[in-house]
């Protein structure tokens, strides 16, 4: 069983992700933004984080960067409905900041399950 932290400001999207992964014997915890997620990080010690990019208070790219600094072993999946910043696509930026995988919304439940299992099986390079 893995502990997975889901970060999205849209409660309906969080519930959908929880329900999608529910049958896979994982413990899923929800956070509505990056600031809330970072508070949970130390206590929860998640195996993986699934995070949206565009969120109020603390958005996904900044959250990914801080998770990488504090817990380089955590697997990170970034997801976004698109959009760009300074002509760079958000998901490309997320990968550059250390996300292990990226999912473009809309995605199918089977894609999410496969990505989660793939990321959980993968090895992260040791911290520099």
């Amino acid at each position: 069983m893995a502990v997975i932290l889901v970060i999205d400001d849209d409660e309906k999207m969080r519930r959908l992700i929880v329900r999608t992964l529910d049958g896979d014997q994982h413990r899923i915890v929800e956070a509505s933004n990056g600031a809330e997620a970072l508070k949970l990080l130390g206590e929860l010690k998640p195996d993986a984080v699934i995070t949206d990019i565009l969120m109020p208070q603390k958005e996904g790219i900044e959250t990914i960067r801080e998770i990488r600094e504090r817990a380089p072993e955590i697997k990170i999946i970034a997801m976004s409905g698109g959009g760009s910043s300074h002509n760079l696509m958000f998901l490309d930026v997320a990968r550059a900041f250390g996300a292990d995988a990226a999912l473009a919304k809309p995605f199918r439940p089977v894609e999410l399950r496969e990505t989660v299992e793939q990321v959980l099986r993968s090895e992260r390079p040791p911290a520099a």
Binding site: D9, L16, G81
Partner: protein
């Protein structure tokens, strides 16, 4: 060609072409910004629709779960409908059905809804002029505009405050001269206000998108689009620490049909907390 005609031709062509060439990249950038934000919103909604419907089809889904999943998919689809309406409003292309409206009565009716959505921490105050003239407007979209402005005020007053809705007749010498005699609806909050650099961009679609979350990116743009389409104007006045006031200037109505006799103003100034 005569020299005078040649000069006219040059003066007509030269000054216009240069600013257009400069303005185009900015316009394209703004359009690209809006399209990107709209695509983002729709992709999120499609994600909810596809995800919930696919889970609905899985064999282990119970009847109770199926009901919730189908409701979630429907809700997301209706949010998409709201989004397309917001886009049409922003573009000033809503299918309006204008009729003579008693604005004070519409405000009182809309306030019943606002009292539920704004919550107990926000006091609602009316300052409605008893002799305000009837206007010609689509009451459904005008009520939606007031709800959008009130939602904006609610977000500005997270810790509570006062929302004031005022009406008055307005003569041509007042602020919005371009629309002639009419009325003004002022919606004021006691929130923290905005600095000039924010105030100047407050009607831009998705300007505040990242700070305020999903679904709010078109609200003020839609209100502006509706007011403009109705032949009016909207202004925003704000200072840090002094709250914000949106003023909707709408043209005075003329008696188009039998509705005129039913639209006589009949409310007096009233505190409606």
């Amino acid at each position: 060609m005569s020299s005078a005609a040649e000069n006219r031709r040059k003066s007509a062509a030269a000054p216009r072409s240069a600013p257009r060439a400069e303005a185009r990249p900015q316009t394209m950038e703004a359009i690209g910004h809006v399209i990107g934000a709209v695509v983002h919103d729709f992709n999120n909604l499609f994600g909810l629709i596809i995800g919930n419907l696919e889970l609905l089809r899985e064999p282990q889904t119970s009847q109770a779960e199926a009901e919730e999943l189908s409701l979630n998919a429907l809700t997301a689809a209706f949010r998409g409908v709201e989004l397309t309406r917001g886009l049409l409003a922003f573009a000033g292309r809503q299918p309006l059905r204008p009729r003579l409206v008693d604005i004070n009565e519409l405000i009182v009716e809309t306030t019943r809804t606002l009292r539920r959505t704004l919550g107990e921490r926000i006091e609602i105050v009316h300052q409605l002029s008893a002799d305000v003239a009837p206007i010609v407007a689509d009451p459904v979209y005008l009520a939606a505009a007031l709800v959008n402005l009130a939602d904006n005020a609610r977000e500005a007053m997270a810790n509570g405050g006062r929302l004031t809705i005022a009406t008055a007749n307005r003569r041509t010498e007042d602020a919005a001269k371009a629309i002639g005699d009419g009325i003004v609806i002022a919606v004021s909050d006691t929130g923290p206000g905005m600095p000039p650099e924010i105030l100047g961009r407050v009607f831009e679609p998705y300007f505040a998108f990242r700070d305020r979350g999903r679904g709010s990116g078109l609200a003020l743009s839609a209100v502006q689009g509706y007011v403009t389409q109705s032949g009016g104007q909207i202004t925003a006045q704000s200072e840090p620490g002094a709250g914000t006031t949106f003023r909707l200037y709408l043209p005075r109505g003329v008696a188009l049909d039998a509705d005129a006799s039913q639209a006589a103003p009949r409310r007096s100034s009233k505190r409606d907390a």
